[in-house]
Structure formats: C-alpha cells, structure tokens
Amino acid sequence: MSRRAWLAGALAGGAAAALPAARAADAPSQGLKYTLNRQYSVTEKPNSFEDITSYNNFYEFGTDKSDPKANAHTLRPRPWSVTVAGEAEVTGTYHFEDILKLQPLEERIYRFRCVEAWSMVIPWVGFPLGTFLQRFKPTSRAKYVAFTTLFDPQQMPGERDSILEWPYVEGLRMDEAMHPLTLLVVGLYGQVLPNQDGAPLRLIVPWKYGFKGIKSIVKIAFVERQPPTTWNIAAPNEYGFYANVNPHVDHPRWSQATERRIGGGFFSRQATLMFNGYDKEVAGLYRGMDLRRYF
C-alpha cells in the first residue's frame, strides 16, 4: 500500500492518535527529488539548516524567533489542500500531493532579507509560481494574485492572539507573480519543508522583504484589485504592498541601508543591495515607479 494511501486511511479512521506525535521539526524528513537551478542561484554559502529552522518570524506560533521551532509541531501539513479561485478559467481545490506532481522541483539558493534588517542565504526547493498559475488560465481581469494562510487556532495557537489580523494574507502584482524568480516552496536543503518554515507550501519572492513570503498557503486567488496584505494592515506607514528591498528607502523607525548577516558572527553587518541583489532580474518591473511612494 502506498505511503499516501496508508496515511489517508489512518487519518480517516480517526487513528491520528496512533501515529507517532510527529514533531515535524525534528522528525527525519523525506528527501525530495529536485535539480539545482544554477541560473537563479547565488554562489554565496547558504546558512545552516539549524539557523534556517530555528530563527523564524511566524507569529502564528509566537513572536519570539525561537517560538516557531518550539511550537510548530501542532501544525498538520498533511493532508493539505490548496484552493485556486478568482478570475481564471480553471479553479478548484487541489490536494497538495497532486500539486507536487504537476512540475519537476528545482533547488534555488536565494538571498533572503527580512524587513528587520537581517538576512540569510537559503537553499529552497520548489517550482516557479508563474508556470503553476498559467495552468489555471487567468483571464484579463486577473491583475493581482492574492494568497491566504491557514486559519486554525487549534493548529496555530498564535492565531488566538490579535498581534496581527488572521488569517495572514499577502499579494503580488500579476507580473511579479509571473516572474521566473517567484517561487512556490515545498522544501529546504532537499528535504520536506519543516513546519516552522511554512509547511507544506509557502511563497518566496527573493527581491522583496521576507514578510511577502506567505507561509502555509491554503488559497491562491486571481483578483482585479490590489489585495490587502497583513503587515500593511497592521502598520500602513511602515510596511507597504510592494516591500521591495531598497537600501534608499528606510523603514520609518530604522535604516534599510545595511543588514546583519545571520551566521556571520559578531561583525556581520553588510550593505543591503538594491532589490536584494536581484536588480538585474527585476528592475524592469518597476521602471518609472516612485519606489519611495510605492514602498
């Protein structure tokens, strides 16, 4: 019997309690099949698996950086479904396993820059959002793509607090969503994505601040108008819709000109690059746009 069928059967039979209480953060992960995409990968040394999985902003599990690793074991990333909706010819709800079958996985080593002015280099495994979205044949009314995270305070205890409005929502302009760099991520270091990093499916947009990389996605919708985004709702003067990494546009309370490189020791401060170093690839998307106004 296939592992998936067994899993589905066991859960259906209410035997979830019989499964080992999977602290997915520590449990041996299943290896993924993927190929390295050298064209879109940086050559800098990636951060350690330990760093990437123990230093997270995932307020659904608490606001300390160490909270997600400690608390994300209550998330059940399988079985998982994603609903695709909105201005498209094809819509519906899909099993995560079926989504995985649609395209081959790539490894991409991306720079990651948090709005808090720290950064990492992370070897994600996933597939381009653009080619995935094209399967649903978005219509001409689809100007933006809106994403939603799971809302289930039982699985995500931080959602009981009102530190942010839940569920977490994010969005991209259509051309940003279609850009070859934009990635739907399912793995890390060749293994299934740990819970605290946004299992089972998250977004990564490497030229934007990390909070645009919405985690544990349950819904993707094609929409006509610019969708609301959680951090912009929380503090509209501090977090914008575009959130492009830009050393010339400061956060109202701190500078964005430099960043601290995690894993870089005690003297790890380095200059922040325009569009997080992806200037060549994405500057064209914003030609003529006032990046101070549309931050």
Binding site: T63, R253, W254, S255, I262, F267
Partner: protein, 217 residues
C-alpha cells in the same frame, strides 16, 4: 553578631555585586559557547537585547529601593542603591558598545546618522548621556561636594528611566507587550513618588507655620 555596617560591607554588598554580574557572565559564556550555552543564530541581536533589558531591570530595581524602604522600614537598602545604579550604567554602556562595535561595526557615520534620524535611538542615546554625570557623581566625596545639588542632579534618574523604557517601546517591531509591562512598572514606581509628594505637601500646608520640608525621596 556583626554590626549592620560590617554585614553590608562583607556580606550583602559582595553578594549583590556577584549577583549583578551574573547576567554579564551568562552572556560571556554564551559568546564563547561554554557550558553548552550559545547566543543563538543572531548573537549580536541577542547581546544587544539582553544588555538593554538587564539595564532596564537594574534601573527599575534602583527605583524600587525607596518604596521598599518606606513600606518595610528596611532603611539600609539605601546602601545598595549606588551599586545597583552603577550596574545599570554598566549594562547601558555595554548595550551601547555592542551596538557601536558589533552591530554597526564601528561605522561612526552610520551611528551618528542613527542617533540623529531614528527617534528611538535619539531617546536611548540621551538616556545614556544622562547616566554619565550620575555615574561620575556617585561617590561619597561627590555627594559631600555637591550637597543639596546632588539630590537635584540625581533626580535625572527618572528622566533616564522614562527615556529608556520609551526607547524599548519604539524599538520593538510589533509585539509591544513586554515594553508595555515595563512602562506599567515604571509608572507604578514613579506614581508612588508623586503620591508621596502630594501627601507631604498637603501635610505641610495643613500645619500652619510649619517649617517641615517635603521629605527627600
């Protein structure tokens, strides 16, 4: 049975001194990764945050001395206040040095820009500056030299504490619960003094012709 003086000099003060150093020792152990301790994936942020919070903790403890004295009668706690205040200064300076040396890698221009352009850093730096004359005039000799003015000068501790707590509140990204807790605690400690002063003033004005000055806090 030792006299109070001797007990403070040989027992209480050394104990408090060693206890006050433990946060620093803990951080140093983490920095050198001894005893299995570590500062985590972002050691500079951790050091900065720990030194800052410890500094605030010591500031609040020094402000606790007077209310505790008045409510319990333990007047001799006053003897520990200078040491606790100087430790607050020690941790504030450490916090600033971590920022200057590790976080900003001695980029003086960036630091000056931060102090000028980031309000929460302006507040924090001002608090540090205020603590310098307080630390410098903390000796008995200085107390005698300044007389009444010493008391007035050292009331600046209230300003430093307010700025420090405000600095924390404005620094935090989103989760303001802990800064709010500090604001609340500081409000209680300062509010206590305000209430005592009101009561003293009422006592003075109600006794006609009394020459009693409001009690020194």
């Amino acid at each position: 049975m030792l006299s109070v003086d001797k007990r403070y000099r040989y027992i209480y003060k050394p104990v408090v001194f060693v206890a006050s150093l433990t946060p620093a020792a803990y951080l140093a152990a983490g920095a050198f990764e001894i005893f299995g301790l570590s500062l985590g994936p972002d050691p500079v942020a951790h050091l900065l945050h720990s030194c800052g919070k410890t500094a605030l903790n010591f500031l609040l403890i020094t402000l606790l001395v007077t209310p505790v004295r008045r409510l319990t009668g333990f007047t001799h706690l006053l003897r520990l206040r200078r040491m606790l205040g100087l430790f607050a200064f020690f941790y504030v300076v450490s916090h600033f040095l971590v920022y200057l040396v590790f976080d900003q890698v001695l980029d003086l221009r960036a630091v000056l820009q931060d102090i000028a352009k980031r309000p929460y850093i302006t507040l924090g730096f001002t608090a540090l500056l205020i603590l310098i004359p307080l630390a410098v005039t903390s000796t008995h000799k200085m107390m005698r030299r300044l007389g009444r003015r010493w008391q007035r000068l050292h009331q600046l501790i209230y300003v430093a504490a307010i700025l420090g707590v405000w600095h924390y509140y404005w620094q935090v990204k989103r989760d303001v619960r802990e800064p709010l807790l500090y604001i609340f605690m500081l409000a209680v400690l300062l509010g206590y003094r305000i209430v005592v002063r009101w009561q003293a003033r009422r006592r003075v004005t109600s006794k006609s012709g009394s020459a009693t000055a409001p009690e020194r806090i």
